[in-house]
Symmetry: C2
Subunit: 275 residues, 2 copies
């Protein structure tokens, strides 16, 4: 069965809409997005966020910078943008070009406006339950797991990728469960040795159709948080139509983890903007 | 080969001794240990710490409380002890009795005196490189890995246990490496499926001789951070003498991870006390 991310997203967004109505007249949420260069997936994500902001009736500003911007210029612009009182949330769209020191600039984001929960301050507080803002992609994955009543206790969960947006924060959350975890990445010499015994695979590799039918066991659950482009077409880490012959549940790309992630982002946006 | 934890510990402690001499006259390090109840392993650990403090010439105070102490009493005593100016570091020896809410009392430890790096404040700062204080057991394990030049890139590292002292903070650090990780616990139905393919096993289960020869492959490296008692004798998660027939490297219990952990604790103690 193919998981309907859009349905879950719509439910979350409906909650956001109701919350927005109840706080009318208070501080107006205003989301600013800083986009650098011409990464196609990034431009697509930003467009989705803008469309959703418009549907919700939120203010949205896009700040678009050239691929060759320097660290100093980007930091100066970030600080100028987040310094504006009317801007309540800032997205620094990742990945950034190679010349940019990403960990360094992430720590420059004002934690009070850090809607992606990227700063170590917010990430730590999120992990320790000190704030109710969570990294959107892991939050979306956990929402899907909850919605589809996917049991983790005693199951073998294979996470593919150790990135800042998916693998790292997700594994921290999964360490709180009774699942047996395996975490693979590009350096894993025998990925299918792990995927073949997995009950649940959560993939955030960004490698087009990395995961094929022959690499998984019958009845596996696949949550695909990978996005990449192949011949101009948006791809996940697996082809949901092919793999659903073996998988009991699989999220499609597009229409799976992506829309839920955007909805979780707006949930954070409302929390940061309106308390 | 059996890893000599004591040699590594002695090198670290020698550095501590030299640092102590160079800071003579400044703030004097004073370690306070809060011990509750009659857990045998805990009493053994505390004794090791006291012996080492005496060897280093540090002030050491043991505060011993009965098994049935209430949360309120323990919090009040913790706050009184760490409130004293002359006490520079506090150990709240874990595990605590069942009636105590451990996560709650851990957060009451003053981060400036939290030598075990247990508070979420210190743990987060440690993970993000904002302080140079690290949880002693994972720090000891990483020190052993460095000292014996154990390569992690592309290797399958199996961590047994997801506890607060070993598994959780260790996995956060290993997520920064290029190792493929598996994390097993009591809910893992088929532990040996994982251990049999492991290049490196790091065990913090506290289950006496859980890991036997037939569960590992030839040449495996085993770092045993488990401690428990069997018929009154201190045991690791593996029997190093039996398993060294197959393992290329193994840490003994006692004499492996334990002394390095104590040395790392004193390294933290000096950093907190003398800056």
């Amino acid at each position: 069965m193919i998981i309907k991310g859009v349905d879950i997203a719509n439910r979350i967004l409906e909650d956001c809409r109701q919350k927005l109505q109840s706080i009318k007249g208070e501080r107006r949420p205003h989301l600013a997005v800083i986009l650098v260069g011409h990464n196609k997936a990034s431009r697509n994500f930003v467009q989705k966020k803008e469309e959703q902001a418009q549907k919700l009736g939120l203010d949205f500003s896009l700040f678009d910078f050239p691929e060759n911007i320097t660290q100093e210029e980007l930091v100066r612009n970030l600080e100028e943008i987040q310094g504006k009182d009317e801007i309540t949330c800032v997205i620094l769209q990742l990945p950034l070009p190679q010349q940019i020191n990403t960990p360094e600039i992430i720590e420059r984001i004002d934690p009070r406006k850090d809607v992606d929960c990227l700063t170590s301050t917010n990430l730590c507080k999120s992990q320790n339950g000190q704030i109710d803002i969570h990294p959107p992609t892991p939050a979306a994955i956990l929402e899907i797991i909850k919605e589809y009543q996917i049991l983790l206790d005693g199951k073998h969960v294979v996470v593919i990728g150790k990135g800042r947006l998916v693998g790292k924060p997700l594994v921290t959350e999964l360490m709180k469960t009774k699942a047996t975890l395996s975490v693979c990445d590009k350096s894993t010499p025998d990925l299918e040795n792990f995927t073949k015994s997995a009950d649940i695979i959560i993939s955030g590799a960004g490698a087009p159709h990395l995961l094929t039918q022959d690499m998984v066991k019958e009845g596996v659950v696949i949550i695909d948080a990978g996005t990449s482009y192949k011949k101009g077409v948006l791809c996940g880490d697996t082809d949901c139509h092919e793999i659903q012959n073996k998988a009991s549940l699989v999220t499609p790309v597009p229409g799976g983890v992506g829309p839920v992630t955007v909805a979780k982002l707006f949930e954070n946006c409302l929390k940061l903007s309106c308390g």
